[in-house]
């Protein structure tokens, strides 16, 4: 049937079935290379200097606090009996959770052939690495005598002591380290063809050398691509169970203990869902401003992409909400008085405001995303993502603090009060994260160019593709 003969109803039906294009129409391969590379090649914009001076200052605060902590002792934090794990573990879980969205986008969405991932995966994976770096600071500092943290590595030592491999903290060390290294490999493998683009476009000697070394001499022949695609698939296949395992292992830190409120089997899936929720919120938090600064990126990271990310946010947020309910239900249903008391305390004790904030931010506010209006207006998406960021921090704080402030015995009850070092260090990690991310935007292609080119209609030989 010719286009003109469709009735309005039919037209609307067709429009609702057709998928939005992944790249705005009219954007060619050449444009993608030119534009994405130009972000790296252009003169450093003024906003970048302003932004990095802010994040850089915060980073200095982090360095100063860390130095002070190492020089003085871990007591400069507010951690004390009974809350031995406080903001440090909260922040650790918060940051490591953020990382999970990057791996979900790069690996799980790759295996499930979600092609819309291509324009956001590079930045999300970078976010993963930087978030894991921020996370790793906390357990390292929390050991107190930082110079002894090499004791986590199973190597023969002069004391003849070996690690307890049955400890969740040891699992955690292995899981986080593996996660970081595998994420670096995955990220770098994905970068190689794009680094070759920057190398081939380079006009200055320094750039030619820098990108030339990093691109390893990539040529883009089918002999390379066929192994490359296999390696990428394998890395995606390995990262998928890995990312699920990492936050499960993080949750074991709690679940394998006997503390009421922690000792539950729901923790691994609950933590993983929460991590993806928080991570997607952070992806949106950094991509929406990037998209606002570099306007044409809106043709690659379209409203349709944002819409899809919002759906993930809504879905995982609802899983998290379900987990909160289930925790409450199980506490009641278990008949265990300590379990019941802990959860009652969580919702009504002195930390009720943290619990209420968590429910508001993670469960209530994301429900707005059922409405298309909120999913397609980026300002609203940004606001909702901000709520989720805050909510996920409070979720971890609620888990860590409420269970520890009320132990089995009233004699070991007490509140937690953060010190200025706690607060400054947490702000400092945002400085570290922001600085790394700004450097990433400035020196590496923030969109995976070759993958976006591959999802253009013209890339598929079966489409009879033109261009």
């Amino acid at each position: 049937m010719a286009e003109g003969t469709l009735s309005p109803v039919e037209e609307r039906a067709r429009a609702s079935v057709e998928r939005a294009p992944l790249v705005a129409p009219g954007r060619t391969r050449g444009w993608i290379s030119d534009y994405v590379s130009s972000i790296v090649e252009a003169k450093t914009p003024r906003w970048w200097w302003v932004a990095i001076s802010i994040t850089g200052t915060l980073l200095l605060v982090l360095i100063a606090c860390t130095t002070y902590l190492v020089a003085t002792g871990v007591g400069v934090w507010g951690n004390n009996h009974p809350v031995g794990w406080a903001w440090d573990i909260t922040n650790f879980v918060f940051w490591i959770g953020i990382g999970h969205a990057g791996t979900l986008i790069s690996a799980i969405l790759f295996l499930t052939r979600q092609k819309w991932r291509t324009s956001i995966n590079r930045a999300a994976e970078a976010m993963t690495l930087f978030a894991v770096i921020c996370a790793a600071i906390y357990p390292t500092m929390h050991v107190g005598r930082v110079w002894m943290s090499w004791f986590l590595i199973p190597v023969p030592n002069a004391n003849g002591i070996w690690q307890n491999f049955r400890s969740p903290l040891m699992w955690d060390a292995f899981a986080v380290l593996t996660y970081f290294l595998v994420s670096v490999l995955f990220w770098y493998t994905g970068l190689i063809p794009d680094l070759a683009t920057l190398r081939d476009r380079a006009t200055t000697k320094v750039r030619k050398f820098f990108y030339g070394i990093l691109a390893l001499g990539w040529r883009g022949g089918n002999r390379q691509w066929r192994h490359y695609e296999m390696a990428y698939l394998l890395l995606a296949g390995l990262s998928t169970p890995l990312v699920l395992s990492v936050h499960s292992v993080v949750s074991f830190d709690f679940a394998a203990s006997v503390i009421p409120g922690w000792h539950t089997t729901i923790f691994p899936p609950y933590f993983v869902a929460g991590a993806i929720f928080g991570g997607f919120a952070m992806v949106l938090t950094i991509l929406i401003p990037a998209r606002a600064v570099y306007r044409p990126l809106g043709d690659l990271i379209t409203v349709s992409h944002i819409d899809k990310m919002c759906k993930v946010l809504l879905f995982t947020g609802s899983i998290v909400g379900y987990a909160y309910l289930m925790e409450m239900f199980m506490a009641w249903y278990s008949g265990n008085p300590f379990e019941r008391a802990t959860f009652w305390y969580r919702a009504t004790g002195p930390y009720w405001w943290a619990y209420a904030l968590m429910i508001l931010c993670n469960v209530a506010v994301p429900q707005l995303l059922w409405f298309r209006f909120f999913r397609t207006h980026v300002i609203w998406v940004f606001v909702i993502a901000m709520f989720a960021n805050v909510g996920m921090w409070f979720e971890r704080f609620v888990i860590v603090a409420t269970s520890l402030t009320r132990d089995f015995l009233p004699s070991s009850w007490g509140m937690f009060h953060p010190t200025w070092v706690d607060i400054a260090m947490f702000a400092g990690t945002f400085g570290l994260f922001g600085t790394l991310f700004l450097l990433f935007i400035r020196f590496l292609p923030m969109i995976c160019m070759f993958e976006v080119k591959a999802v253009l209609p013209s890339a598929n030989p079966d489409s009879g593709g033109k261009l």
Partner: protein, 186 residues
């Protein structure tokens, strides 16, 4: 025909540029049909269906990674078993090292398996595609720089038994290739 590189150095091959991914798949099929073996097609992104067109076998990387993963698994078995059962036996959860304590060793077994597999995948990839290699005859060809932006190229190497500089060049031209170029090693 254009010349890339130093004409007094040995011949590397003859290359041509094509217009699109569709063309390149067709060219690869034609080259195969004409009996060429040592050739490669270059594109800014992996082209769906190209492996079939050039009749390449499935990449053996998967098997290599399996071996890497197995090594990681066995390494983790040794790493945990030897200290926990032999050098420094510990009783944890009221259990000595033994069958019923095994689940507690799973996380590290899993993580180490993944770690070794991923490194094998990365290093195996580099070995298979012959990187890092910072100098290559193809880099003598200026137009070839377009391969990482939006260029599609086919290059037939001189080591192919069917190769003859003029005839191969003409063949590429007859397939629709433009900027047919003779590429030298240096």
């Amino acid at each position: 025909m254009d010349i890339a590189g130093n004409p007094s150095s040995p011949l590397y091959g003859v290359g041509a540029e094509f217009a699109s991914a569709v063309d390149l798949v067709r060219v690869a099929k034609e080259l195969r049909a004409a009996g060429y073996e040592s050739f490669d097609v270059f594109s800014p992104f992996p082209i769906h269906g190209m492996d079939k067109a050039v009749q390449s076998r499935r990449s053996p990387l998967g098997r290599i990674v399996f071996i890497g993963g197995l090594t990681g698994f066995l390494a983790a078995v040794a790493l945990q078993y030897i200290p926990s059962a032999v050098i420094y036996p510990l009783i944890v959860h009221g259990k000595p090292f033994g069958f019923f304590a095994i689940p507690a060793y799973f996380p590290i077994l899993f993580e180490t398996t993944v770690l070794f597999s991923a490194f094998t995948a990365f290093i195996g990839l580099l070995m298979m595609i012959g990187l890092p290699r910072f100098n290559h005859p193809l880099f003598n060809w200026d137009r070839f720089k377009g391969v990482s932006a939006d260029g599609f190229f086919a290059v037939i190497e001189s080591r192919d038994p069917k190769f003859s500089k003029d005839e191969t060049g003409r063949f590429l031209e007859s397939l629709g290739g433009s900027n047919v170029t003779v590429i030298h090693e240096d």
